[in-house]
Amino acid sequence: MRKNHVLLMGCTLFAVSVVAQNRQVTGRITDSRTGAPVSGATIRVQGSNTAVVTANDGSFSISAGANARTLVISSVGYTDQQVSITSGSMNVQLVSSERSLDEVVVVGYGVKNRREVTGSVGKVSAADIADRPLASIDQALQGTVAGVQVTQNSGTPGGGISVRVRGSSSISASNQPLYVVDGVPMITGDFSQLGYGGQSVNSITDLNPSDIESLEVLKDASAAAIYGSRAANGVVLITTKRGKAQKTRINVNVYQGFQNAWRKPDYLDREEFLTIMKEALVNDGYFTGSETRNDLIDWWYSSSTLTAAQRGPFLFDNSINTDWVDEVFRTAAIKNYEMNVSGGDAKTKYYLGGGYFDQEGIVIGSRFRRWSGRLNLDHAVSEKLNFGTSISLSRSMNNRIVSDNTLYGPFANSLAAQPLWPVRFNGAYTRPNFFYSNPVAEGTENDDLAENLRGFGNVFATYKITSGLSVTGRAGFDVYNLNERRYTPNTYPGNSAAGTNGSATSGKSINTRVFYELTGNYKFTAGDHKFDILAGTNTETNKSDVTSVTGIGFPGEKFRFVTDAATVNTGSNVENSNAITSALARVYYSFKNKYLLDVNFRADYSSRFAPGERWGYFPGASFAWRIKEENFMKNAGAISDLKLRAGFGLLGNQAFGNFSYLTAYGGSNYNDQAGIAPVQLGNKDLTWEKTEQSNIGLDLGLFDRITLTADVYYKKTRDLLFIRPIPAQNGFGSYASNIGNVENRGLELALNTVNFKGTGGGLKWTTDFNISFNKNKVVSLFEGRDIFYGFGGNSIVLREGQPIGTFYGLLFDGVFSELKDVPAGRQAAGIMAGDANYRDLNGDGVITDDDRTIIGNAQPKFTGGITNTLSWRGLDLNVFAMFSYGNKIWNAAGTYQEGLFGGFNDDNQRTTVLARWQKPGDITMVPRATTDVSVNRNNEANTTRFIEDGSFLRIKNVVLGYTLPKSTLQKIGVSNVRIYAQAQNLFTFTKYKGFDPEVNFAGASNTTLGTDFYTFPQMRQITFGLNVGF
């Protein structure tokens, strides 16, 4: 009998050797979805102590007693499985525990199974993002977690993005969540000292996304309260990969690809540009209409600001028709190489990872590169004592370009540059618009480099005092060094260093965080009562040291560093610090696994407030009822899980100035002599912003194939940080105080379905869908007064009852077709046929600023995403789409790009102006061409003419992969090979007519939202990748 087995399997590697009394069981463990081998899985013979671990190719061989019937197979990330021992090689497919009740969820200071979770926690795991070319891990939250709205803002490589967990809760302090990496809060934000328009540097990009095991988002107050005063905007817990007790695994992942603009709106060509220019002059009476093309050019450009030499002969050359956008756009490369090695034994485990990521921007002059390394070690000294580290070192180089609201950006200037100019003439750059410099020169001649070096990590030790009681000490650090350098040569007309003969700035910013923490954890079970108690304390100190020096007057453009400057004219060095210390506690209680109660408490002491206001107390509690466990549900077979959750908590936000509470006098020099002058008026009563949040949620599982998670929440933030205005007669205009309320209420749904189970390598198809509805509202403001801000200073309003990001301006009702259509009052004021017809809201017969009103808002009605994953044999396909509905975009640049030469502004125009009003009877939404701006307000920016629907559905990511069959792999001696093709932003469906609907000229601003003003657009990326495991 046994002999037969050997014969049967003679052709396989998994020969069974025969041991007296025992038999040898062999087989292979694979992933049910991908078919990839699962290494490091533990195989145990039920009822014995015998256990082995699978090899890299997933194979195992275990000696089982003659009476053994069952193997128990377990592996992190998979649901445990029991299989009957069969004869022959056993092929076992493990089912990923993701999205199942066994899924491990990291919560603050611990892990739980999904079934034990009482709060609202969203998760993204490594598998979800494996093949996506993410520069930054926060991008992984986009469209994947219900209740988290991620806005990319621009296509700037390495640029900052906006992450809003359940809406915006603050108007002056930060709205970004707290990022905690392996237990240590990460330094986030933009530390750049140089202005590049609205887009910031994102310090989260220093984490290599492929080192990440999982991301958990603590959304509701009960889950996040353990992070207290900094959790009001949600908490993102980032867990990095660690080694497993298994043979060394080497994994190599390489992808490479290209990127280009997915859309390019049309701009006028030479012919169209000159035609409309002439039309404006005819409309205004400067021309009769009989003038020639050369008359026109001569009139326009000689009356402006150019010398004959600057004007050159080319302006009259009809063959010149430069498409400036094409001149600054390019097909840009993206590549990523990384390798990791992991493994270990029962005592020591390690994960060692290294990577290089290189992304060029689609606009010339921009590029982001990152080199990263990580070492995560775990070592068990004894049964009781464990040590570990989690350490990463990274360096990045970011070639930046100025964009958004600027006169010196390659992309921004390319939209304004006129088609009449060549890029260069006789080797010298032209100046294709008097107000702006040459776009190609801006993207080519300047040095704009931001380099950083970052060390981030922690060491920890856990000591088990008894089986249930342990103490963990952790010390962490985050050292973020940002070195920036800018050089602007005086080698092209209109550059920002004209007059200073070259300008160079060097900036250094060293930010250091030191963190230490001690926690005690006690778990015990008494009958049906299960307790998990945590108490701890931690302290975090932050220091920043910021230096900058500027020099002007360079001997030539070959000299680009401050040392060669004739004059070193600006220098500064500032040190700043803050600290926070906390005590925290949590009691988790479960009765019969049916009733779960989780009570959190955190007390924070922050240096940012006056003595007396420093302590803040942040409690949270949540309760869950696992209805499925009740007897009456036992027979409801269709329902695999049913859980009700409810929670409430109080959170804080202290993301504002370090010393806002102090009245301060600072250095103020005059005539090269030291002086002292007032800086700010302090407020001893300044305190935390406080967010109360309640959450009710439902988890429902059906047929083990469908899970539905629904949450409703109400979030109210009070004591908003507000720079309260006071009469400036007092010598100060304002001081920091706590005034105002904002609320967010919403509904989140996440539905995950297994459409085809894919047993036996057949078709497997899963769908993950999520949708979030958030309603944001400003409840109260200082003295109930509107606050105007945004691009231009008065385009967005904070008003009680309205959401943050409410646009303000005139209502545009088209264009007066004929003079008789113009109301008498406006005719008297000088409005003509072809002028804009704004709504006279106050009925006074004329259009004034008093006719302005709310004209839209940037908040979407709902956002979400849908991911379909299909696999069939070795093939896999993942399609991820995300959407946003109901948000408006304000195309503020319209005032220039569709301004029809108003005010003699001769920026190039979008082709939308071809539909302009030209003669009485024309019915159109585009006013007439005229240089006259004295009364008509035709091209005013803050009007509904430039408010567009920003809704979109975007096929964000498509991955098609193929895993080579095992038989092939054996021949080449590797355990796993996968090749894939990936496309990002493959299709976008939107009514928005600009470059990209995911846009904000103010970058990751709190309150200035949805505004498009010469913003670097997003790109389409196509990459091809190879993943090899040894």
Partner: protein
């Protein structure tokens, strides 16, 4: 046992947390408390230095206070072509109450006044020997700023009844903390002038004749002469101007004198022998908004936001050295004419170069003020109006002396030529009751509005007519 372990863990954490307290007592390394700032003689003198720095703000004498009167009073002589709407509104006399210049100048001026009040409140801590000078400088700052505010943000002194017209709030108390915040109403124009005269008169008494680049006896008297002139108190103006001339030209006052060359006054890093007061700017520090907006990019400015129109050039006699012009210079062209053409428009050379001091008071103004006041009063205090005016004409170059002055308008014309773009346009036009771009001299739109944010923050403020 278990309970004891928990207690052990908790007590360890508590010990740890109390051990950390010291690290949480952080100080702002870049800041002093107001108590420290006003604690010693040395510190108070540094606060005074900070007061001058505040005064040198672009919103104040760093340029804007000199630009507003010529932009608003342009009367076709200059043209704002720049892209900045806030300046365009000043030039177009179409100010919105939300204009950032309107609020910026208001708050910057009161910042200087508050610093001055802090110094005056703590004057006892200053070394006795220096108390007079330090207090005199503080009073100079406070008086000058109240005066600049009242003549911009309120009706002209001579327009209606000064004791009934609203001026600006007079601030004479120091705001040290939020407890000191007040919401003052506007004082009358009369009250403001009275306080300004009191402050400047006392300052003139206390200040030394010479004080490097800081306020002197002559500087206080010079501002005082402007105050009297604006309220049409010609005797006061004449005497203050005369005192300025006497003090400034004395050897104790640094033997100030009219420079031989008119253009030698301008584009100077250091004060000249003609400067009675100027804001110091160098490549390390300071703002010169005059340069930023009047000059052009090849000299490190913006793109030439202010163009000088033919109507201005028509004021000069053709041979006047102050009318000389260079055509289309490049960055390397050496020239020292009063005007140049660049980008198809006339530009003034007065503020051509980067990092040069900003003119506030030149001795030439004092001769013209003395001449005008003497002429109006029929007196010859100091010297005859004819001599004073001819002094200026002789220095201008290319001009014959006047043989007689037949009208005060001749002196006004000389003032417009000599002091062009130096901040006199609107104020002098109001004194001479001239029409400005079609608006009568006392038109509501020739007065700045009270800033929107101030009306919001202080309900006791009343907005100006016309806004």
């Amino acid at each position: 046992m278990k309970i004891r372990n928990i207690l052990f863990a908790l007590s360890t954490t508590l010990v740890l947390s109390t051990g950390c307290k010291k690290e949480l007592e952080l100080k702002d390394p870049q800041a002093l408390s107001p108590q420290d700032a006003f604690s010693t003689d040395g510190n108070i003198k540094k606060v005074l230095q900070g007061g001058y720095d505040a005064l040198s703000s672009g919103n104040l004498w760093g340029g804007n206070l000199q630009m507003y009167p010529d932009l608003m009073g342009s009367n076709g002589e200059l043209n704002w072509v720049g892209t900045f709407n806030n300046y365009r509104e000043v030039w177009g006399k179409s100010l919105l109450t939300t204009n950032t210049l309107v609020s910026g100048t208001w708050s910057s001026a009161y910042n200087v006044i508050n610093i001055a009040n802090g110094i005056i409140a703590n004057i006892a801590k200053v070394a006795t020997a220096d108390q007079g000078r330090v207090k005199g400088e503080a009073l100079f700052l406070r008086g000058a700023m109240h005066f600049e505010l009242v003549r911009l943000y309120a009706k002209d002194y001579t327009d209606g009844t000064a004791s009934a017209n609203l001026g600006v709030p007079l601030m004479t108390n120091f705001t040290a903390s939020t407890a000191d915040i007040t919401k003052p109403a506007r004082n009358t124009v009369e009250q403001v002038y009275t306080q300004v005269i009191a402050d400047l008169t006392e300052a003139e008494t206390l200040l030394p004749a010479s004080n490097t680049v800081f306020a002197t006896k002559a500087a206080a008297a010079a501002i005082l002469s402007r105050v009297y002139l604006q309220k049409a108190d010609y005797a006061g103006a004449r005497d203050a101007a005369n005192r300025t001339i006497i003090s400034a030209t004395s050897s104790a006052g640094g033997s100030k004198t009219l420079l031989t060359s008119f253009m030698a006054n301008f584009n100077q890093a250091a004060n000249t022998a003609e400067d009675i007061f100027a804001i110091q700017v160098n490549d390390q520090d300071g703002t010169n908004n005059m340069q930023t907006f009047y000059s052009v990019d090849i000299f490190g400015a913006r793109d030439g936001d202010i163009e000088i129109e033919a109507a201005h050039l028509a004021l000069y006699e053709l041979t006047d050295g102050r009318r000389s012009s260079t055509s289309n210079p490049s960055a390397s062209t050496v020239f020292n004419t009063a005007f140049y053409t660049k980008y198809s428009a006339n530009r003034t050379t007065k503020f051509r170069d980067l990092y040069k001091n900003v003119k506030v008071i030149r001795l030439a103004e004092m001769y013209l003020t003395r001449a005008e006041a003497n002429y109006r009063l029929g007196t010859t205090v100091g010297d005859s109006p004819l001599n004073d005016v001819n002094r200026i004409r002789a220095r201008a170059g290319g001009l014959l002396p006047l043989v007689a002055i037949t009208s005060v308008n001749e002196i006004y014309l000389e003032r417009r030529r000599e002091l062009a773009f130096e901040g006199f346009g609107l104020h002098d036009a109001k004194r001479f009751k001239r029409t400005i771009d079609g608006r009568p001299w006392n038109d509501n739109k020739l007065v700045f509005p009270i800033p929107f944010r101030e009306i919001n923050a202080n309900s006791s403020l009343v907005q100006n007519a016309g806004y």
